[in-house]
Symmetry: D2
Subunit: 412 residues, 4 copies
């Protein structure tokens, strides 16, 4: 659970903003379990201003081919201190600090043929000749078969460890498998080699279902979708993605449904931008993410949180579901004459059953769930977690749901 700068600032977030969001989180959200503060892509790019990348541009880099924060955007990094001071600040608030990286080695290091720490090999010698990212020109892939490749990645994670990084979101590496499989293994091993515990999060998606066991072994999170934004179609599709991935969720390995694009997003384009999701859609998203136990990363600017969004993100019983659910699965999905319903269920580790009812069709409607569909054969009372209302024991659950709306229950 945390905050990530991408949805509101793209490639252009600054230290000032990160500090402000961290401070807000410490004061208002930490008590609900929110703790990671993550600086997303291109913190090493001095000229970045939006979500668009400048092609082939000059990047800030140390003498060992490692990218470092752009001092004009992260002043505390001046003098070779990197993200050390910023991480220290975040830690001082009782929070954790994360960064985004791109798979590979900077192209400018390769073309300048700069050194690799702890080896007499150079950037040119470890780069993979035909491995590039399809949408960003910063890096070449690293060829795991080359001498110096291992040392390069180890030098990277040692640097991040020295800064105090707790979370690394590595990009250009999940959707590309199995092509880049050996580079993922090299990178993951290098991370473990540095001794500091860091969460490894893989991006972008959709990850490959047939590679589930690989992700489980080498990463803690992996994206099951391309960038998720505030479009209903993407949320609708997420139901099928979650259905397919649910059995791969467990301790230390979490399919990742991407950030929550709520509140004030796309701030680099216009400070007035707000999510286009309706309130019902946002509740549907939170309920699905939590019963599926997806990692939760807030996409919106925290200092501009409106009351609805704040409530959405601080409902203790919904957030408990993200921690306490076990064996979540889609029970069924059916088109009724007028709309389409989905039922999810999960066990609560401390007892009881979670139930998510979703109306993902285009009309309001009434859905009935016999408890026998959950292999529960008596009568059950339930509490609705968004409203707090309780329903008296019965053999089935009947609920009216608006279009794109949901209800989340826990048996009493």
């Amino acid at each position: 659970m945390g905050w990530n700068s991408w949805d509101c600032y793209g490639a252009s977030v600054t230290e000032e903003t990160v500090r402000a969001n961290a401070a807000y989180m410490a004061e208002h959200l930490k008590q609900y379990g929110w703790e990671y503060v993550v600086v997303d892509i291109q913190w090493y790019e001095p000229k970045a201003t939006t979500h668009e990348y400048n092609a082939f541009t000059e990047l800030c880099m140390d003498e060992y081919s490692r990218l470092i924060p752009a001092p004009n955007r992260f002043p505390s990094s001046e003098g070779g201190k990197g993200f050390g001071p910023l991480a220290e600040y975040v830690h001082s608030l009782g929070l954790k600090f994360g960064i985004h990286i791109m798979r590979g080695i900077p192209r400018q290091a390769v073309h300048r043929n700069t050194k690799i720490l702890g080896t007499d090999r150079t950037a040119r010698e470890v780069a993979k000749t035909n491995s590039i990212c399809a949408w960003n020109t910063d890096m070449y892939g690293v060829d795991p078969d080359r001498e110096g490749a291992k040392e390069y990645y180890e030098s990277l994670f040692e640097l991040y460890a020295s800064w105090g990084v707790d979370f690394v979101k590595c990009d250009d590496i999940a959707r590309e498998l199995p092509h880049e499989e050996s580079e993922l293994i090299l990178l993951s091993n290098a991370l473990h080699h540095c001794k500091r515990e860091m969460v490894l999060s893989l991006s972008p998606g959709p990850a490959l279902l047939e590679k589930a066991e690989l992700y489980k072994q080498y990463a803690q999170m992996w994206r099951i979708t391309d960038d998720f934004w505030d479009h209903w179609e993407s949320l609708y599709d997420m139901f099928e993605r979650c259905e397919k991935w649910c059995i791969h969720s467990g301790p230390g390995h979490w399919p990742d449904a991407d950030m929550l694009p709520v509140g004030a997003i796309r701030q680099d384009y216009d400070p007035d931008n707000r999510t286009k999701f309706t309130e019902d859609e946002q509740k549907t998203m939170m309920t699905l993410w939590c019963i599926f136990r997806a990692p939760l990363m807030i996409g919106g600017e925290l200092t501009k949180l409106d009351p609805f969004t704040k409530e959405l993100l601080t409902n203790s019983e919904i957030l408990a579901m993200d921690r306490e659910a076990r064996h979540a699965r889609q029970v069924w999905r059916r088109r009724s004459e007028d709309t389409e319903f989905v039922v999810w269920s999960a066990e609560r580790s401390t007892g009881g059953t979670y139930i998510g009812l979703f109306n993902i069709g285009e009309k309001e409607g009434t859905v009935t769930l016999p408890f026998t569909d959950l292999e529960m054969y008596g009568t059950y009372g339930v509490k609705e977690l968004w409203s707090g209302k309780e329903i008296a024991p019965a053999g089935e659950l009947t609920v009216d749901l608006p279009k794109h709306g949901c209800a989340a229950f826990l048996t009493l």
Copy 2:
């Protein structure tokens, strides 16, 4: 749970054999939960002698285009009594009676243009012109859009209900979807129309994963594999099939891993034939079927059950797992240097956790499962269900497994 004639007699089972197996089941197996006795394919074919089908041969049929038992093979059916007397006998033993049917209407009815009960339409008028089975020449598909199609299927199930049938295995209908989707719906509706409760089991497989919701709504069981025989490769493949289908298992809708080819099978070719599965492989099969909660149908001749096979089929704790498991799923699957391990887990509805450890590689090996992989964070004692041995509480479970072998645990 039951017995089916296919694995030992193919298309050629006789009444005498069915009665003998039913009697054996009532005396020796019923107490463990075994109850269905199912007559498989072509009971209407007077000349059938093996698993091979005679092409275009004469079938026993009533005047309304409905197939009836061949009196030379099922003497009690003489005089239009159909399976009534045999079902009555099975019921008298406290057991249930099932039959196999092929989707469609007999080709001989179509070419003779015989009547359909309760309508002035004929067989020729309801047959679908280009719908045939790829491996059997008995039937044409029925075109749901034709007048008389509904009446034909209703007349079928009324006949089966009048006989006292409890279970209908319908063939040539699962793998062919979505092509034959509307015929499945027509058939399922006709079954419900007849008022007698009958289990509807769809065959052959592999059924289509993307049609899971359809099977759930219109059938109780559907095959997730082609005919399953005693080859290790098929059992190896079943692990992946079960992984994919596990979330679709639940009350009233069961993915079906096919019969258990154990004991004396292929009796129509040679009475000395026995399963080629090793004992370890048979335990692996039973453990997977039961933790996955697959329907259990014995394929071997019951009157020839050897001691090992009888024990295999009457282990109360393993069979309890088939009833009590919930939310079963593959936890992980990994190649170690020398072999390949799979871990399954499920909750027991009355408390506790089931764990299946499988060595599906080609060498013996030792597998370790930290309980944290199951989100169980303390120490746990377990009982191995095949041997009855208990293991003292610990934070992980370490087991030596022979090639193709398994262990099944329940936490204490």
Copy 3:
């Protein structure tokens, strides 16, 4: 070059009509090279009335499982004379006689288990169990591996030879390759076994380009398209089909672009029906068919030939191109700003070069062809074959063409 009953009468042509068309051809078209009179599909079906097939209906058949003309539609066949008298009549006019057959053996023969001439095998024993036509219920495929299969096909062609058949259009056999490849070889060998020379024409298309050498060896004609009707889209597509197949055209092996749907077609639905092709489109069709050297089969009712259509079909210089062209190929195909042009060229076996210019776009336009594109490096005079107009020698050819129109040239 001939006439075929399909385009005007579907499955329902009668002897009277065939005789009338033959008589017309002998009197008015024979002198231009037209000579085959072909009775298309289901002449053995007494109840056929249109292009739609009656499913599973009774067919006229002899005691040896061979279909024979329905006497109510072909009265001269009465008394076991088959098509003998009709063929004799056609021959008496100096023309040749052809029939259509379906691959395989009648389903009614299989289900009645009738005999096969010259063997003690039966229809049931030679039928292939899972080989049917997708759009017609008359036949089962024949399994070449069965004893009696060869004898069945030989008995068929002996019957046709005894009737005096000169041309056999075999259906359900070209598009289905390689599935039915061995049945084609069996059938072709049986045809040659009967000693009478008959053209073997395969249908329906599109035939498979990668099987070109097979068709060349076992048939004289094969359809490169599904049924071709009077829709511009189909004619447009034919340019690409002809481009791909042109190198496979030669003596004794002709890719077949299907019938010419001109004049009075679909007469079984309405005697007022006429082709929907414009005059320009019909000329484009004739020009392409003739430069490509496709077999020419008139689809319209001959006795209703209007003056335009008659001229279209009797232009001696265009028809000469169908005989005299060699090495025809598409020279180029280009989209211009407003429309799309295609150039074909072929050598004339007796000297000179044929050129076809086509405007297959949606606007009129002017096309220029430098003779150097044909590897002709001087200046050339040409004659336009539809109009007879000559153009003085020049280094290129420039022509205005209406939408869907063409011009055909021969160098002087």
Copy 4:
């Protein structure tokens, strides 16, 4: 017809070698029609030594982002003279001069952000962000939509024109279509803009058959195969490639079957290397290339030509076929019991018919070609072009052919 440095020197040819081969060609081969001398890939790479490319290495480049010859390998280029002096020398011998280029703009130009002649745009601004070659790291693709892209390509061809280049082999552009289609059009237009006539040859293959019209319009040659080396399998495959492409051969547009790997090839690895093709295979290759009218480029070191190879390359009648053949096509291809035969035929523009008979199976055998298969209906005498032997007039041609051998005929 010419010589290309790739097969013998890979990326490492030197001026001295080019001059020696040009001198040899002028003295010994020019009289047979050989005239182009082509410097293949990476003449701008000072460290190249073999067929392997150094990754990300420094390239010789002018201030306008244009690659120039490496002076250590091409001394006459010193002082900004480029290939001018070498081209002048080749022209002085009465021959023509060609170079190889890679599609795109040097990566080092992009990362150094160098200028583009005649515009205030820079290399960085015209590079396409995700377009690289799969096997060489020299270039980025150029994005035709960027300002400066057109000017960049025009500046390239103006430079080549100023040097006196007659032939440009552009690499990384044929197989990649349609992806790089717009870059091909941009490049081709830039070539025509420079006014000097240069042949444009596209590489590598296999080119896409469905893009034939595009190649015809924008290039003179395009490779129909990946790099062709001295392996029989590749030569065997070429028969099918030629069959498919034959109709697209004509004046100004030639499908290219790649170089002739004959004589002393792979000289950069070992001066003793010689082609692995047998003499029969080399004749088969020459016969196919010439009847198909493929461009002919010698791959072997000319100064080491052995007597067999020299004869192979200077057979006047075979070479005449490369110029005089028209409408070449595969007549048929058949497996006989023991081997496999292919027949090609073409018209000679000045009269007569060329015939190629090939045994591409693994045993010697006898092939018979009735002249009627070529639509030639009388008796014909022929001359075999390799041996000069004449065969008396007959209705068919019967020849014994060794494994992988051929015969080439011209009718008398």
